[in-house]
Structures are given as structure tokens and as C-alpha cells.
Symmetry: C3
Subunit: 208 residues, 3 copies
């Protein structure tokens, strides 16, 4: 049982890497980069969040550089996008969906792992949020887009929701897998619903 | 007495975080971001410098993630800006002023702390300069502005001045508080004077 | 003999810093930044790769902040560009050439050093590639250019080639200097040839 739980948990993280790598490679295709440009954006987006997490927690060198399944997943996902990407007119939608999947998985998983490692409540929520936002931020800064976290519907809210729920569940029950799953599903649901319905937080008053 | 000095010193750093968070949130308002977009830019600008310092010095996880007064300050400052920001026509001026306050405090404080921790003269000046420039850099890269450090009047010069003065005073007298205060006041004064008078360093010759 | 090898090896790294600093300062001149703006871009580009390497490997504070020959080299190179830069019409070409020199030296040297420090094959290649691409990435993000790594001819390919060759030679022979030299020369040759001939990797199919 424990064995299976571990595998499922590792599979979750890899699913997050895959989702973010695909979103990054799609952005690369949309910007008409060449093969390696697409791979670089895909790789950086897929493993960027994990590298940021390891920098924060002091893991040297980052696990994503040493554990081959991680970068292999990001590479394969990016290659698949390069060769089999959808029509340009649909790329934006796919970007949003895969980005939402990565955001949800990383926020909940990152917070659960951090929480289990013994840091406090707020720090765990911070780590989950930063890890999940980080990959997409790297992607958007790389290609000179304004970062989605600043403009997309309830983007940071969804990340914070996923990280908070996962931290609460981890600290009260110790069930990492449940924490990561419930938090992740909630975050993804909120992000995609807000996108579909065009929900936005209020904007600043304009006085002139 | 020691007690009071410690509190004043902590208060200085928090003042720097507040100033930078306000400058970041103002930029977010100017770019018409929604509530959480403004908070993200404000938080990243306010605690960004400290996170960079901890990455450089190897403090894991960064103090800004674990010590609640820091991120609370950045959050409150950003919220206040969202609800009570000045008219758009004045935002630029407020941005410049709060950015200058953050720059001066962080450069002198960062250099004084680094110097006291035992690193050499040049490293201390480096740390102070990088910490003070870092927060504003994150802010400007986030919203796709050309970084102020590359274009604003005597920006990096002011940071280097503050860091150098603070390092010299720390190494010769050991008075951290005096070092941070004198260095910070000088840096802020130089930055604001250069802004008011339009002082610039020379530009490269144009040969064609 | 050992002594001489060490000096040559250190000289190689400094040559890489100088090349990248010059490329960064040239970009600063092209963007019409003032004296300190040019120095900041030059310094960040010159020592940025090394700082990233130290962050990855967990060296605190980064060697580039503590070992004066590194930042002095970057500073002198940037100053020289500010005062003696070529005509604007030629700056682009000089940028490309010095950037290629830095890319080749850093990819091979970074991979050789990492490989010798005991990390695995893939990690060594990763470190060399990230170090060599990192400096130029910082430069391009700073001035809001689309990063060269995403658009220039065989840029990342050249870095990966240099890092891979250097890692293979280090692991099979242990000759760091030969590894760094052969890998570096190959990477520079591939990058400059691909630039001169306009070689590109394939771009994604456009379906509409």
C-alpha cells in the first residue's frame, strides 16, 4: 500500500511537470521558435517550479537536474507539442488548460511536501504558491509576455487555494496524497471555472 | 538600550519592505492589474530583495517566508495602495519616492548586516547593492518595464554609495544602526536630488 | 606543470567572463544606457553565469562576489566598451561574436568543473548548459530583448555540444584543461558557423 501511494505521489508531480512543459512548448510554438527554442521554453517551464522549490529549501543541486524522470518528462512533452501541436487558433485554449493543470498540481503538491518537511503553516502555503506560479512566470518572462499571474482570472487565488487546502489537510491528517489531490482538484476547478466565466477580482478605482 | 537598538534596526528593515511594497503596488495599479495582481507585484517587490539576500548567503528557507512581520508588512502596504492610491497623474512621482526610500534603506542595511556577518569589504558592498536593486528589478521585469536601475538618474550610484558608506562605518566602528542610518540617508538624498535635478551619468558617444 | 595548468584554467574562466561582459556592455551601449547602466548590464552578464552555477551547487556567497579578479574583469571589460565601443552599425556583429566566445567557454568549462566535482553525466551537461546560457539570458531579460537563446542560430545546440564534449572528455580522461578547450572550441565554431551560414533548426508546422 505504502509503495503504491509513493508511486502515485511521484506520478502526480510528473503529471504537473508534463502539464507545465506542454503549456511552455505551446507558447514557444505560438511565438514561432525553432525546435530547440520550443524545447528550452518547455523544459524551463516544466522543471522551473521544482528548481525554485529546491533553491528555497536549500537542495543542491536541484532534484530536477539529477532525477532523470523529471527532465525526461519535460523533454518528451515539449517534443510531442513541437510535432503534434494543435492549430494556432486553438493553441491559446490548450495553453490555458495545461497551465491550469500544472498550477493546481504544483500548488497542492508543493505545499503538502513543504508542510510534511516540518516548516510552518504560512511557509508551506508560500512554497506551494511560489512553486506553482514560478514555472509559468519563467515561461512568460522568457518570451516577453506579461506574466499570466498578473492578468489571468483568479490565477494566484487558485494557487493560494490549492496550497492552503493541501497544507491544512497535511497538518491535520498527515495524508499527503489526499492533501495533494483535494487541493489540486480544487485549484484546477477554480482556475478553469474563473476562465470560462471570465471571473476577475476588482480592479483599482480610476480617479482620472 | 541594546533592546531598543534591535527594535529600531528591525523597524528599519520593515520600513524598507513597506516602501518597496508600496512602489510595487503603485506600478501594479498603473498597469491596471486586478486586486491580486497588485498584491503579487507589491509582495514580490517588498520581500524580493530579502529573498535574494538569503539565496546569496545560503539561508534556507528565506527569512521573508518564515518571519510573519515581513510579508504581513508587504501585504498591508500593497492593500493600502490598492484602496487608497493617488490619482494616476501623481502615481509616477509616488513610485519614484517610495522606490528611493526602499533603495536607500536596503542598500545600507543589507551592507551593514553582511559586513557584520564577517564577509569582506567588497562582498558586503555587493550584497547591499544587489539586495537594494533586486526588489525593484523583480517589479520591473514582472510588468515588462525597462528596469529603473538601467535608466533612472544615479540609481545604481545611489545604491553603491549607501552600501559603501554603511560598510565603512560598520567595519570601523561596529555601530550597525549608525551605519544603516547614515548610509541610507545619503543614498536616499542622492537618488532624490538626482531625480529632481535630472542628473545623469554620461552616455556613450554616438559615432553614427 | 600543475601550477601552469591551474593558471591557464583560471585564465579560461576569466576569458569567458570578459567575453560575456563585453557582449553585455555592447547591448547597453546599443540601448543608449548611461555609464552605470552599461556597467550594470556588463557586470550582470559577465558574472551572472557563475552566480547561477554557485546557486545550483550551493556555494554561498557566490565566488564571483568574493574573488576580486572575476568582477574586476567584468568591470574593466564593460568600461572599455563604454569608452571604445565600435560604430553602432557594427555593434550587432561584435555582440554576436563575444556572446559566442562566452557561450563556448562557459559551457565547456562549467561542465568540466561540475563533472570533476562528482555529479553524474547528465547533471554535468545541465550545469554547463545552464551556466553558459544564463549570463546571456540575464542580459536579454534586463533590456527587454527576446532572449537570444530562443531565437539565435543553433545557440542552445552549441552550448549542449560544448558541455557534452567537455563532460565526456573529463569523465574518460580526467584532463580538465583539454576537456574545457576542446569542448569550448567546438561550441564556438558551431555557433559562429551557424550564424555565418544562417543555419536554423526546423520551425513548427503552421497549420493555419
Amino acid at each position: 500500500m505504502v509503495e503504491i501511494g509513493t508511486w502515485v505521489f511521484e506520478g502526480l508531480w510528473i503529471a504537473g511537470i508534463l502539464a507545465f512543459a506542454i503549456s511552455g512548448a505551446l507558447v514557444g510554438v505560438r511565438h514561432n521558435l525553432d525546435l530547440l527554442g520550443v524545447l528550452v521554453v518547455g523544459l524551463a517551464t516544466g522543471i522551473g517550479g521544482g528548481v525554485i522549490r529546491d533553491m528555497i529549501l536549500g537542495v543542491h543541486p536541484p532534484v530536477s537536474f539529477t532525477h532523470w524522470p523529471y527532465w525526461t518528462t519535460a523533454l518528451v512533452g515539449s517534443l510531442a507539442v513541437f510535432f503534434f501541436h494543435p492549430r494556432l487558433s486553438k493553441i491559446r485554449t490548450f495553453e490555458i488548460v495545461f497551465d491550469a493543470l500544472g498550477l493546481g498540481i504544483f500548488s497542492a503538491y508543493g505545499a503538502a511536501i513543504a508542510s510534511q518537511s516540518g516548516v510552518g503553516f504560512i511557509t508551506a502555503v508560500f512554497v506551494g504558491t511560489v512553486v506553482s506560479i514560478g514555472g509559468g512566470l519563467i515561461r512568460d518572462v522568457l518570451v516577453n509576455d506579461v506574466p499570466g499571474v498578473l492578468t489571468r482570472e483568479l490565477y494566484a487565488v487558485s494557487a493560494i487555494l490549492g496550497a492552503t487546502v493541501a497544507t491544512v489537510i497535511t497538518q491535520f491528517t498527515g495524508h499527503l496524497l489526499i492533501a495533494a489531490t483535494v487541493g489540486g482538484v480544487l485549484a484546477i476547478a477554480l482556475r478553469l471555472t474563473s476562465y470560462a466565466r471570465g471571473w476577475h477580482l476588482p480592479k483599482p478605482r480610476r480617479s482620472n
